[in-house]
Symmetry: D2
Subunit: 148 residues, 4 copies
């Protein structure tokens, strides 16, 4: 029976995208996204808890990621859980979980950028030219061309 496997994340990129251009025009981008929750423990102390997610984007989305996404940016991500299973050298069953991104959008990104130089570093300064103009990318069909 048809099921539902949906993930919704809002978090920040821990690094620039890692992009691989494969044969046959395929492109894959891998992202590390941190989602942080803050709460008070029973003693009233503020606790922060960060979860790191491995995201995988393909083709059109991967190209957008390569072009616009930078370490530190805040993203909204919708995707699904996908796991790879294999046996390691010791013969142990191994499993790795990734989020296959269905669509995403950049958040915040107040560009105004008066006087914001293009630093040598790739870290996101919130001042890149119009990153927020990248629309949500929906994966089925339309994902293969850049949306502008």
């Amino acid at each position: 029976m048809a099921g539902v496997n949906k993930v919704i994340l809002v978090g920040n990129l821990g690094a620039d995208p890692e992009v691989k251009h494969l044969e046959g025009d395929k492109v894959v981008a891998n992202l590390r996204l941190a989602t942080t929750e803050a709460y008070k423990d029973r003693n009233g102390n503020r606790v922060e808890n960060t979860e790191w997610h491995d995201l995988e984007l393909w083709d059109g989305q991967a190209k957008i990621a390569e072009q616009y996404l930078k370490k530190g940016m805040q993203l909204y991500v919708e995707g699904k859980i996908k796991s790879d299973s294999w046996q390691d050298e010791q013969g142990n069953n191994r499993k790795r979980v990734k989020i296959r991104v269905i669509n995403f959008t950049m958040l915040g990104g107040r560009p105004e950028g008066a006087g914001s130089p293009s630093q040598g570093t790739s870290a996101y300064s919130g001042n890149s030219p119009k990153p927020a103009a990248v629309p949500v990318m929906d994966s089925p069909g339309e994902e293969d061309d850049l949306p502008f």
Copy 2:
């Protein structure tokens, strides 16, 4: 900054819950949930793809799971991704991803059960007495008492 880490699943249980009663009244239940997607590949053949999810429920929810959930049942689940990291005996970094359940509800479960015997097996026949009456369980606060 506050983030969002949300998972929404609709799928079927691959087995009865595994429940552990810990010291100090803590209870934990582990579930295996299958979400299946069906689509047609480029040749028009129907393909089915099943993803297995490890769910973890605590305390009040774990008790409800223990009492009502059976292999085969269809569930709606809302939760968040949580990973455990450790080093294995070979010193490799290992990571395991689970879904910490925030709330869930049983789906379908047409009880009427005309002629449905209580089989010796624990597999869900769709005829158990009123499973669908279990409400969505929200985890914060109210999760520790059975909701009926």
Copy 3:
């Protein structure tokens, strides 16, 4: 900046679909879906609260709705909020909110149907032949053909 407008519902149909075949092969189906939440008030009394939603499906989804959906069935629905605004005869601004369905799947629907007669009524008995086999319908692109 690209936004997110997402609705996720699990509920029951209050009536059979109302389907209109428009010129140019367009088809639209309107559904009424009830989502019920149950909770205990401060006196410990069980309270039920039902919200009725107006759903709108187009083309391929509308045809599937016409063919398979029946009053009483339980659905998972994903969509977005869409409002129509107009002026009524008195010149008042009026607004109506609908859920534009992006995809849906039938839930439960234990087909086995031992002894379930095909009643003259259209109300769902939970015994119709394999409704649960209808996959989630995604709207972009593939929505115009029946998925089997």
Copy 4:
């Protein structure tokens, strides 16, 4: 049977919150949130479509809204659809749909604010002191105290 009624929005506030302090310490805040989707029509022209949502927050969340939210800010919102029904003076059945907010978080909010003056206007400049530090507010239980 327990249902699901969930709304997830990412959008911008069209105005400052409207807050009412009621008797008995109750507080309610009303927000107008715009979610915009952009797509290309069949002629390849970029089209923008904005949906306006009426949000309602209570008590602790309302106080946070009153204190921190400003016109123009970008929010992530989770809530549920709630409708009020009544008869107008002409005896017509009327219905109004609101989003009852369950939790929300402010997005973006590049605080650093080099050279950003505190303008007399209340419009969000993206430079207010650390708005992004406000965590997601969950409504059940903990909602009545400010979370810091």
